[in-house]
């Protein structure tokens, strides 16, 4: 094996490593640098300010609001979507005719662009002419100010994201369910376990790796909320739907506070890592 031959695997890995290094890992280092320096002219950086940016950030009540709203959004939408997806997958995991059609239909929103979903949601939940309020009126419920109320805006966004992502998680759970060994369930039935008992004692524990995987996926995917916020609410009304990623975007592109945007990005990243660590601990014990 010549020296060139021995170097081949490194050569093949190089392009991938270069791209990931430049656009995934280097940015993290850059963000740290950016958050520790004052903004300069245009896109260049100014003097080192130490942790001053962070101090300003943590004194900004809007930051805490955005953090809180981000947590609300994540802690509700992720578990809720996964639970519904699991339920759906359980239903679809039966040898019945036509379930393939349902599977396809439930998955369809996943391939829609977020922009189209945003446009659609804006129309459906519109205060003027929106069909959802019409249905509510028919049921005797007074119209809900979905996207214009500070109390309703987050739930609406959660609803929209569940609508869009349900099919994806459902499919993954379905694949996992179909891979579960059948003899295990037969044995459980002979042992006297009813459907509920079988679900909690066998299905759920065996699905743990999948649940872990999906939690990670869902956590990363929750950043997608930016699209909805940017297109549907612009953080409003009155910053009630401002989430960290939108806040960072505003800082960077509306207020040109690059250092602040970097700081927020790093806080977000720290949040993600913490949550991942927690999920990993909770599900991999």
């Amino acid at each position: 094996m010549t020296a060139l031959g021995r170097g081949r695997p490194y050569l093949y890995l190089a392009p991938t490593l270069v791209v990931l290094g430049a656009f995934t890992y280097l940015p993290i280092a850059r963000l740290v640098e950016m958050s520790l320096r004052a903004p300069g002219l245009g896109t260049s950086l100014g003097a080192w300010t130490g942790l001053g940016t962070y101090a300003t950030l943590f004194h900004n009540p809007l930051f805490w609001r955005a953090l809180g709203q981000t947590c609300t959004y994540v802690f509700i939408s992720v578990p809720l979507t996964m639970a519904l997806a699991l339920g759906l997958a359980l239903l679809l995991n039966q040898p019945l005719r036509g379930l393939g059609v349902f599977r396809t239909l439930y998955y369809t929103p996943v391939v829609m662009p977020t922009v189209a979903v945003a446009a659609l949601a804006l129309w459906l939940f519109n205060s003027n002419g929106g069909i959802v309020n019409y249905f509510l009126a028919r049921l005797g419920v007074s119209p809900v100010p979905w996207l214009v109320s500070t109390t309703w805006v987050l739930p609406t966004l959660i609803l929209v994201s569940i609508w869009k992502n349900l099919g994806y998680y459902m499919l993954i759970y379905l694949a996992a369910l179909q891979a579960l060994p059948l003899p295990l369930f037969d044995a459980a039935r002979l042992d006297g376990a009813g459907p509920i008992a079988r679900f909690f004692s066998i299905t759920l524990p065996l699905l743990r790796p999948t649940t872990f995987f999906l939690s990670v996926v869902a956590l990363i995917a929750s950043f997608q909320v930016f699209d909805f916020v940017n297109l549907m609410t612009q953080g409003g009304p009155s910053n009630a739907s401002n989430v960290l990623v939108y806040f960072a975007y505003q800082q960077g592109f509306s207020y040109l506070q690059l250092g602040m945007a970097a700081a927020v990005s790093l806080v977000m990243f720290a949040l993600v890592l913490t949550l991942l660590g927690f999920v990993s601990w909770a599900l991999n014990r």
Partner: protein, 271 residues
């Protein structure tokens, strides 16, 4: 028996809130302006306005956006497959120092979302002069950790004896990747390509960051701009635009749904 009925009932019930928005989108897109806001909803357009689509299409340079989307998506997915195949080849079929480390370094990229790194990448692109260029839209996505992972799984599944036989047939290294590994990984390649195409065609966030010029804007951005203009006024045009922006992916999914679903059932998922 009752279990069967209950299952279908629940599934149909669940399908209503899922499917209704699509129906409403299609119906609205065909309504002339005056039928959009009526005291009682019209479930079908009385006078379908097919020219809504043309009107919406011409309201923005959607043709340009469409071309951009195609170029960018094809380039990204193509690069991801090439880079991913090479990296997966190295990781799956070679023994070398640091192999495990490199694998985990690549996998770690999966938990760094673009929404965290965007501001730094923006600066990087600005310094490179790649803002508002195809390069800026494509480069950060040229490598896919997910694609590398899937292809590595697929390559690992090819038996050693096959590689031995190929060596004795005079085929090793890159020819082996091309003649044997890739053809045998076709299902994985296809499944990954589909997911990647949908993901990047639908991408709104990164093009928003990188582009400020109609010459490189992609379809989702175009639609986003359209939302800004048409909200509270021409919902029918907006729905029409949403439909033709979503249509390519919907059609792709509709015709190739088998391969979408396969990508999950193929077990590339269980970690």
């Amino acid at each position: 028996m009752s279990r069967r009925v209950a299952t279908y009932a629940i599934l149909l019930l669940g399908l209503l809130p899922l499917a209704f928005p699509f129906y409403w989108m299609i119906v609205t897109s065909l309504k002339p302006k005056r039928e959009v806001f009526t005291s009682t909803p019209e479930w079908l357009p009385a006078h379908p306005a097919w020219d809504n689509f043309a009107t919406a299409w011409n309201a923005e340079p959607f043709a340009r956006f469409f071309v951009n989307s195609v170029v960018v998506t094809v380039a990204i997915v193509g690069l991801q497959i090439v880079l991913g195949a090479l990296a997966a080849f190295a990781l799956a079929r070679f023994e070398f120092r640091g192999r495990r480390a490199f694998f985990w370094v690549i996998m770690a990229a999966l938990i760094v979302p673009v929404q965290v790194t965007f501001i730094a990448n923006f600066i990087t692109l600005a310094h490179l002069g790649w803002l508002n260029t195809y390069a800026g839209l494509i480069a950060p996505y040229a490598a896919s950790a997910f694609g590398t992972f899937l292809l590595r799984q697929a390559f690992l599944a090819v038996p050693r004896q096959l590689e031995d036989a190929a060596r004795l047939d005079g085929c090793s290294g890159l020819p082996f990747l091309w003649h044997i590994l890739l053809p045998l990984s076709r299902p994985t390649l296809l499944a990954f390509a589909l997911v990647a195409v949908v993901t990047h065609w639908n991408d709104y966030f990164w093009p928003l960051i990188v582009t400020s010029n109609n010459s490189v804007r992609t379809l989702p951005i175009g639609l986003g701009m359209f939302i800004g203009q048409e909200v509270t006024t021409d919902w029918n045009l907006l729905m029409a635009a949403s439909l033709f922006v979503a249509a390519p992916m919907l059609l792709l999914f509709f015709f190739l749904q088998r391969y979408f679903v396969q990508s999950f059932l193929r077990g590339g998922i269980r970690g």
